[in-house]
């Protein structure tokens, strides 16, 4: 699934490791999320949305909208 994680992270000037720490996941997880190859569970998606203070649908795009 496409997402704006990389852009949102860059806007805040965070490294993948910074984001990984904030979400309490590994850096490889951030990488898999950013490439769009791994879709997060609903709880992790909510956590990401809260961290960036944006609704889930403005971060992730399932191509259906």
């Amino acid at each position: 699934m496409k997402n704006r994680l990389k852009v949102l992270r860059a806007e805040r000037d965070w490294s993948q490791a910074d984001l990984a720490d904030r979400l309490e996941v590994s850096r490889q997880t951030i990488n898999a999320l950013e490439t769009g190859k791994y879709d997060p569970s609903l709880p992790l998606a909510f956590k990401i949305a809260r961290l960036f203070e944006q609704p889930i649908e403005s971060i992730f795009d399932d191509g259906q909208a």
């Binding site: 590994s26 490889q28 997880t29 999320l33 190859k37 997060p40």
Partner: protein, 133 residues
């Protein structure tokens, strides 16, 4: 892998290592006892089961790690690699089973199921990880 271990992984290692040490001690002790005393009956049964116990513990330790791993992506990779391990084990056991039954190939001890599973799991992991890069 350069990434540092999370608490669940540290707990896994802390449980796994001593259990494998117990396994190694068991396997050497048991084979020594069988060579020297050639036990039979219930004693032989009990002794033969001894090395299996730490391996049963390893299965439980793997299950605990799966439950405790908080990183869903890491857990996902592990589950996928376990499925490859299961697939390889079932494939080898099935093919070999029929070969044994009809073609009189040498018997493959059932003991090998677990090592084959672990081998399949270990080999699959880097390939699964690469898919997400």
């Amino acid at each position: 892998m350069a990434t540092s271990r999370n608490p669940a992984q540290k707990r896994y290692i802390a449980r796994f290592m001593p259990t494998m040490a117990v396994y190694v001690v068991c396997i050497f002790t048991v084979s020594w006892v069988f060579n020297r005393y050639e036990p039979t009956g219930p004693v032989a049964w009990a002794l033969a089961l001894l090395p299996a116990l730490p391996l049963l513990a390893v299965i439980a330790i793997m299950g605990l790690y799966l439950r405790e791993e908080g990183d869903e992506f890491v857990r996902n990779i592990l589950v996928e690699s376990m499925l490859w391990g299961v697939g390889l084990t079932l494939a080898i056991m099935t093919v070999w089973g029929f070969l044994e039954m009809y073609a009189e190939t040498p018997r493959l001890p059932a003991f090998w199921a677990f090592p084959i599973f672990c081998f399949g799991m270990g080999v699959a992991q880097p390939f699964i990880k690469r898919r997400y890069r």
